[in-house]
Symmetry: C2
């Protein structure tokens, strides 16, 4: 009953108004996996170079993450560098060195293929599709994408998401993908593309879950200090799918319980909020499930009426 996560494992250089790090573990697959690891067994598919540090591998392993599908090839790991604006609302990419990630061809170890849950991080749509096609016991599959694929690989992307149960994107991506500015209309258009479940992430404003029969809104958690928002959206995804995997959700056995989906969105928000409390993945070195459940209850307290 594991979750397979595919995407980038990388090093990041990050500058925020609160400080700066030159090289810290990052990448969508890393954030998704760490967040999901609090809920379910996680198996990753990714590629790193020979510069990938033993301590980073040990950290992922310490969270119980299966690294059999973490391919190591000669060369350097994916490196991204960015700087946030003073108000943290904008970030500028200073450097994107794809390195070994440029030739990433996801290869699934045999024991991954029968797992029931799949989360495809933001990579080339054709690669996302190839992974999905290698899986043969899926209950729930979905993923993320970005403006670049929406604009330049549209047909490929549409073919890919047609087979997904859920799509997790941010509001500007939802607008771009649908061609509709109004979020509710955008969501209806996207639900016509295949996925039965759409989650639109809205940064500090939270997230909205859309299904054919209605929607659910969760606000963002109001931190006293957003230290570093890098990876928050991926941690949201990890909490969302991780919780659904933990609950053993299985659409083939009947409609997904709306309560599970709503809780999953809130757990996603909780994981995104914790991610912002320290640089990169640092918060996950100490975070406990009890803290996660505590914040989930806080969400109930500040949204109920």
């Amino acid at each position: 009953m594991s979750l397979v996560v595919v995407g980038s494992v990388a090093y990041d250089g990050i500058e925020t108004p609160h400080g700066r790090v030159d090289r810290i573990l990052g990448g969508a697959c890393t954030y998704i996996s760490l967040a999901a690891s609090y809920f379910t067994d996680v198996k990753i598919v990714a590629v790193v170079g020979d510069d990938f540090a033993r301590e980073d591998e040990d950290f992922l392993s310490s969270r119980g993450i299966d690294l059999t599908g973490l391919e190591r090839v000669p060369g350097k790991s994916f490196y991204w560098q960015g700087v946030y604006s003073a108000d943290m609302n904008d970030r500028t990419t200073l450097r994107t060195d794809l390195n070994v990630f440029a030739d990433f061809q996801p290869k699934l170890p045999e024991h991954y293929k029968k797992q029931p849950y799949l989360m495809l991080g933001n990579i080339q749509p054709a690669l996302q599709r190839s992974v999905r096609e290698q899986m043969n016991g899926l209950r729930l599959a979905g993923g993320d994408t970005m403006n670049y694929w929406i604009r330049d690989y549209r047909e490929e992307l549409l073919e890919t998401i047609r087979g997904w149960d859920f799509l997790l994107i941010n509001d500007s991506e939802a607008r771009q993908l649908s061609g509709e500015h109004n979020l509710r209309r955008a969501a209806h258009a996207i639900l016509d593309m295949g996925p039965h479940t759409l989650v639109v992430k809205r940064g500090e404003y939270g997230a909205v879950l859309f299904r054919r029969d209605g929607h659910f809104t969760a606000p963002g958690y109001m931190l006293e200090q957003v230290f570093d928002p890098t990876g928050a959206g991926d941690c949201f995804a990890g909490g969302f799918i991780g919780y659904l995997a933990e609950q053993g959700v299985d659409p083939a056995k009947g409609a997904i319980d709306d309560r599970h989906l709503r809780n999953a969105v809130v757990y996603g928000s909780v994981m995104g909020s914790y991610c912002c409390e320290m640089f990169g993945v640092e918060r996950f070195r100490t975070l406990t499930r009890a803290e996660i459940d505590g914040r989930f209850q806080e969400f109930k307290a500040f949204t109920g009426f």
Copy 2:
């Protein structure tokens, strides 16, 4: 048990991507009063010129609004003209003719002075204070302000809001007033200025209620089409204070029930959302309390988990 509302009664020229009107009833006092009139008796204090149309007066009266305090003086009524951007997120003011509003000196009819609820629309802080000082049986008083007063009349504004129970402003105003970018910190700083209740309006993203002992977030209502957002913030205020007046909230008799405050924020959001469905105040010509309560229940449905 009435609510006294002070502010502008005006004519607006509005252009949105959905259409254009050259002259339509508007003004903060108008929007607040119309929204509040679904919950409680409303008495307004405002000034208009001799161009103020009988049909607009009749419309306000038809909603049971007491116009004794609507002063008529020779000259033209306040006129504002603005145009919204294609995505409705920005608006540009094309014209602001204060006209008779430039010399507005709020005068309270005798029977207004003993009323228990007071909502001060966005006018010069000293005028807001003068109104509050004329009231002698207040249970709950508060109001709105704007960037201009925060920047250029800061000391006067601080002296004014010190005596308020609640302050309703938007997020950029909260940041400007407090000097804090982080909303949670900004709220704490503002609660140190006097009001025990702060509501921060965040446009399409909803609103947050802050009190010393915690906060409550309400999302925005996701309309399929935002026809014209003019007045939505004022309608929020009208729904908020109108509902509290309807409930007979009285802090002198003990702490305000948190449930009442939360419901008030949601009713505020409901009124703001209806306001956006048609040009100006048009939606209030047909809106019913049953529709309002229906949307309140919708909020419960799409926020509960």
